[in-house]
Chain length 353, copies 2
C-alpha cells in the first residue's frame, strides 16, 4: 500500500484540480481540506474524494471558480447562494463571513444554498475557535435516515459541530452525525463484506439489522440513540430546519433539495461574555476533569471530542498516510488523463511502489 | 386521586407563592410554567415543584423579587446575573432580551448565571417561535452523568431545545436531555421499586444496570446514545461550555458551579433569511413528510417532536390533571402553614375528595 506524506498528497490533489480547470486558490483549499481529513483519520473524507470531485466537475455538478452571491445581508446575518461551487469553498466563505460579523457585532449567522459537499464540519467550526470564537455548524445531507419508529427514509444524517477555544493543544471540537452512524462507515463494511458492529439499519421489511447491504436494498439508517432514538431523530430534524430550510436549500426529503449540503454557520465572540483567557482555561479544565474519570471495564481511558483525531494526526504526520492500492491506482489514472506529471511524487515518496 | 383543572392548579400555586412572599407577577409566571408542565405530561416538572420552591425560599436559596442585573451587553448579546431569583423568572428575562435583540439585529444571544432551576427549556424556545423566530436554548445542570466509557460523574444531563415557527397547530419543538434519560425518570422508578426499561446507569463498580437505586448508591447516568454514547457525551460537553462556562456559571463538575442552571438563550429572526410564511410552510411540510413514513413493527405511528405533549395537553385540558394523593396532601399542608384558604379549590373541583 502506498504511503505518502501529507505534503505530497496535497500536491497531488492540487495538481489534479488545477489540471481539471480549478482556479489555484480553490484547488489549494480543497486539497488542504481533503488531506486534513486523511491526517485526522477520516479517509472516507480524504484524498479518495478527488475522484468524485473530478467527476463532479466533468458532469457540471461542481462549478469551480464561480463567485458566491450574497442574496440577503444584515450586520449579523447573511444568506449566500453558492451557485454550485465547491462545497468547501462556499462553506469557507460562509464561516469567514460569520466570523467577520461576530468580530464587529459579537454574533454572526450565515446560511448557504446551492452548495456541494462541504466535507467535515469541524474544518469550519475550528476556523472560529482559532479566532477566539465559538464555532457552530449544522448541515443537512441527502435523505437516508428513518424517523424514530419508522422504516422509510425521511431525513439526512445531518451532522452538528461545535468548537471552542481552549488552553490545550488538543482541540475541543465536536463533530457528529445525528444518525447512529455516517453512511461512509456502512459503505466501507459493505465493500469489506462484513457486518456492522451493531444494528445501524432498518431494512425494507422494517427489521433492525447489522447487514450493511440492507441500506442499499431499500433500507434506511437509524437515528442516533438506540433505545432513545427519538433524541437523535429530533436533533436531525433541527438540523434539517437550520441547515436545510433556513438556507433555502430545502429539507432533504423535499423536491427542492438537490443534493450537496444546506449550510448553517455561526460564530459567537467569547469576549462579549467573558475574558478569552479565562474561557480557554475553563474549557481546558473541563477536558482534563472529564479525562480524570475512572474508565469502566472494557475502556482504557476517557477521551474528549477531538482527541482521537489529534493523536491520529500526530502519528500520520510522522509516519505518512496509507492510501489503498486501488484508490491510488485510480488517482494516478485520473492524473494521467489530465496530463499531470506523476513521476515526481513517486520519487519523493519512496514507499510508493 | 384528586383531579383538578389547570385553572385551579394555577390558582393554588399562585396563592401559595404569594403567601410565601413572592411578588404577584413572579408568582403568576412560575405557577403558569409549572401547570404547563403538568398539561404537557411532565408531572415531574409540574405542581409538585411548589413544595421544593417553597423550601428553597425558606432556606434562602431562591430569592423572589430580586432584580436581574445586566453585567455585559452589546446590541446582540447580554450576560445576566440572576442573583438567585426564580429560574423561570431569570430565564424568561434572558429569552425576552434575546428576542428583543433579534427583533432589531436579527440575532440575540443572552446568557445568565446565578439562576435557579428554570424548568423545561421548551417554555423559552417557544417564546421565540411564537414571535416568528427560531428559539435555541442550552442549560447545564448538576453533575450526574458519566463520560462515554467512564464510571464517574463528570457532566450534567444538559438539555438542548430548538423551536421553530410552523404552519401547524402542533408546535415543532425539540427538548431533550443529552443523557440517556433525565434524572426525574430514574427517581420515579426508584420510588416505584421498579427497574428501568433499559440500562441507564453505570453503577459504582462500573457495571451497566437497570436498577434505578444504583444511581443514588454512587453510580452515574449514561450519556445518550447507547453504543454511540460518545455522541450524547459530546453534545453534553457542548452544553456544559455554552450554558455553563460562557454564562459564568461554571461547568457542573467545577467548584464554581453552585447548582441550578447555567443558561444560554438564542433567538434568530427568520425574516433575515426568508419570508416567514414560506419558512412555516416548509417546517409544517417536513413534519407531515416525517409522519408519512411507514412505522416499523412495534410502532403505531411516527410522531414529531412536540406532538405527544400537544396531544396530552388537549386531553388534560378536557379531563383535568391527576395529582397523586401524597403530593396533594403535601401541597395542602404547605398551603395551610402559609395560611392559604384551600376550601374554595375543593369546592370548585368536585373530584377532589
Amino acid at each position: 500500500m502506498p504511503i505518502l506524506t501529507a505534503e505530497s498528497l496535497r500536491t497531488v490533489a492540487l495538481e489534479i484540480f488545477k489540471a481539471a480547470g480549478v482556479p489555484v486558490d480553490e484547488a489549494r483549499l480543497v486539497s488542504e481540506r481533503l488531506v486534513n481529513a486523511n491526517l485526522d483519520g477520516y479517509d472516507s473524507h480524504g484524498i479518495i474524494r478527488v475522484l468524485q470531485y473530478v467527476k463532479g466537475i466533468r458532469e457540471g455538478k461542481i462549478k469551480p471558480g464561480v463567485k458566491v452571491e450574497v442574496l440577503r445581508e444584515t450586520p449579523t446575518t447573511a444568506l449566500l447562494d453558492g451557485r454550485l461551487g465547491f462545497g468547501q469553498v462556499v462553506a469557507t466563505v460562509a464561516m469567514k463571513k460569520a466570523i467577520e460579523k461576530a468580530e464587529v457585532n459579537a454574533v454572526g449567522v450565515v446560511c448557504a444554498m446551492n452548495c456541494n459537499h462541504v466535507g467535515r464540519l469541524s474544518d469550519y467550526t475550528l476556523m472560529a475557535s482559532k479566532r477566539g470564537m465559538i464555532g457552530i455548524s449544522f448541515v443537512n445531507t441527502i435523505c437516508m435516515v428513518a424517523p424514530y419508529g419508522g422504516m422509510e427514509r425521511r431525513i439526512g444524517t445531518c451532522p452538528m459541530s461545535f468548537a471552542f477555544p481552549t488552553d490545550e493543544e488538543i482541540p475541543f471540537v465536536i463533530d457528529i452525525a445525528t444518525s447512529i452512524c455516517a453512511e461512509g462507515k456502512i459503505r466501507v463494511k459493505s465493500h469489506e463484506g462484513r457486518d456492522l458492529p451493531y444494528e445501524c439499519i432498518v431494512d425494507k421489511e422494517g427489521r433492525l439489522t447489522r447487514n450493511p447491504n440492507a441500506l442499499y436494498e431499500g433500507g434506511a439508517i437509524l437515528p442516533m440513540g438506540g433505545e432513545v432514538g427519538y433524541k437523535g431523530f429530533s436533533l436531525g430534524l433541527a438540523v434539517e430546519v437550520l441547515g436545510g430550510i433556513l438556507s433555502g436549500t430545502g429539507y432533504s426529503y423535499s423536491k427542492k433539495f438537490r443534493g450537496g449540503n444546506g449550510v448553517f454557520m455561526e460564530a459567537i465572540k467569547v469576549e462579549a461574555f467573558m475574558e478569552l483567557e479565562e474561557f480557554k482555561r475553563e474549557v481546558g479544565e473541563l477536558a482534563r476533569a472529564v479525562r480524570s474519570s475512572k474508565p469502566r471495564p472494557g475502556f482504557k481511558s476517557i477521551m474528549t471530542p477531538g482527541e482521537i483525531e489529534y493523536k491520529t494526526r500526530k502519528r500520520r504526520l510522522r509516519e505518512g498516510i496509507h492510501v489503498p492500492e486501488k484508490t491510488w491506482a485510480e488517482i494516478v489514472k485520473v492524473a494521467r488523463e489530465l496530463g499531470v506529471e506523476m513521476e515526481k511524487f513517486m520519487e519523493s515518496n519512496p514507499r510508493i511502489p
